[in-house]
């Protein structure tokens, strides 16, 4: 069983019990493999949980952030792969950013934005 208990999420989203269980099973497997998941993109969450709708996943993730299980950040990814800046929200993302991987300033495009959720070490819901 993963150290992150998602039972409270099932209580709040009973129709999504299967999605939450898929997510819990994924976290459990990654923990048992000795390489616990530290962060996941919102797209990866979607692929793993297979929720009944995009909006319900959005609401579930928001609840996990409010409960302190996850921390949400908007990452700008370089065209040369890898993150070049983490921000609290899309509003905080500058239009021009220094790309340390390419060694020059770039104009940030929307397709370079990636929403990341980081698992907080003290945020397990009991």
């Amino acid at each position: 069983m993963s150290s992150i208990n998602l039972e409270a999420l099932i209580d709040e989203f009973p129709e999504e019990a299967a999605s939450v269980k898929r997510l819990a099973a994924f976290l459990d497997r990654s923990e048992k493999s000795g390489q616990p998941t530290k962060e996941l993109s919102v797209q990866r969450f979607f692929d793993i949980a297979k929720p009944s709708s995009q909006m319900v996943l959005v609401r579930m993730l928001q609840r996990l952030v409010q409960q302190g299980v996850l921390r949400r950040l908007v990452r700008v990814e370089s065209d040369a792969l890898g993150g070049i800046g983490d921000f609290g929200s899309v509003a905080d993302v500058p239009h021009v950013l220094f790309d340390s991987r390419m060694g020059r300033e770039i104009e940030v495009r929307s397709d370079q934005l990636k929403l990341i959720y980081r698992f907080e070490p003290t945020g397990a819901v009991r």
């Binding site: 989203f13 129709e15 959005v58 239009h95």
Partner: protein, 295 residues
């Protein structure tokens, strides 16, 4: 952000040049004043950009009212839902249903049930592939329980009951398979009407005051009376997440509530109608015996 709004923004995004898109997203998100809603919208948008515009399945929301009312709350809730992009909302009425018709256990209750059932079947025909959810109040909850019991062609998506007068012993286990999602019973702990209805006539019960307490229905308690559920804030806080995404937002009162008042408890088990029934039968018997003696 609803699916329709998300679809619109994602659609418009396609028409922007790569250089314009970030500013467009920032502008669209900045228009949302509430920080929580803004965060939801931003997450939905970033998810949608990666996995595509969500496919929309039609979701019809049907509102069924109680007695002695034309239920202005129906139009208000319809408006709140329309603001969120949900246009398929049908307030259903059965005219002004008076107290005597409500109290009479025979004949009079049939017409509203048939009327609502006809409406539901018409909606089902009109929106063949849509999910149908129902919000019912007071006598509307009784009507819905009878429809679920008898009309096996009716399947629902989600159900919200408030001011519920359905008997506590209602067999949810027999009907719950035809409700795909959740059944939530909004309980008003200061609501004496469900208790009074069960006290004076047959067929009703105090589920809106005490809750069903069954695994098939989620009771959510509120410190309110029979018609206090229709505050905009309550509808937005509890009903929208439930209707739109199946989220059960917990109410603080569910845990904090105090013991039910002695008067309500007494009313809930006092066998008034049975005593009245016995008295009437006794009176008729005495009358008949006197008549025989006189003859």
């Amino acid at each position: 952000m609803t699916d329709s709004l998300l679809a619109r923004v994602l659609g418009e995004l396609q028409n922007k040049t790569a250089g314009e898109r970030l500013a467009f997203i920032q502008n669209e998100i900045a228009k949302i004043e509430d920080p929580e809603q803004r965060e939801l919208a931003e997450t939905a948008l970033l998810l949608g950009m990666h996995v595509g515009i969500p496919e929309r399945r039609d979701h019809v929301i049907v509102l069924v009212h109680g007695i002695r009312t034309y239920a202005e709350w129906q139009e208000r809730l319809a408006g709140v839902l329309a603001d969120k992009g949900y246009e398929l909302v049908y307030p259903i009425g059965y005219g002004f249903f008076d107290v005597l018709s409500f109290l009479c256990p025979l004949f009079t209750r049939r017409k509203p049930i048939e009327r609502v059932l006809r409406e539901l079947r018409a909606i089902k025909t009109k929106h063949r592939d849509a999910d149908i959810s129902v919000v019912a109040h007071s006598f509307g909850t009784y009507v819905l329980s009878k429809i679920l019991e008898d009309a096996t062609d009716i399947s629902l998506h989600r159900v919200i009951l408030c001011g519920c007068i359905v008997p506590l012993k209602f067999r949810w286990d027999k009907v719950v398979a035809r409700v795909k999602g959740l059944v939530v019973n909004e309980v008003g702990t200061r609501d004496s009407w469900p208790v009074a209805a069960g006290l004076v006539t047959w067929g009703y019960g105090p589920s809106g005051t005490f809750g069903f307490k069954t695994t098939h229905v989620r009771d959510r308690y509120h410190n309110c009376g029979h018609s206090d559920f229709f505050e905009d804030e309550l509808m937005a806080r509890y009903w929208l997440p439930m209707l739109l995404d199946g989220q059960i937002v917990a109410s603080d009162w569910t845990r904090k509530r105090t013991k039910a008042s002695s008067a309500l408890s007494l009313m809930s088990w006092f066998p008034l109608k049975s005593l009245l029934g016995i008295a009437v039968i006794g009176w008729l018997t005495v009358l008949a015996l006197h008549r025989v003696a006189w003859v």
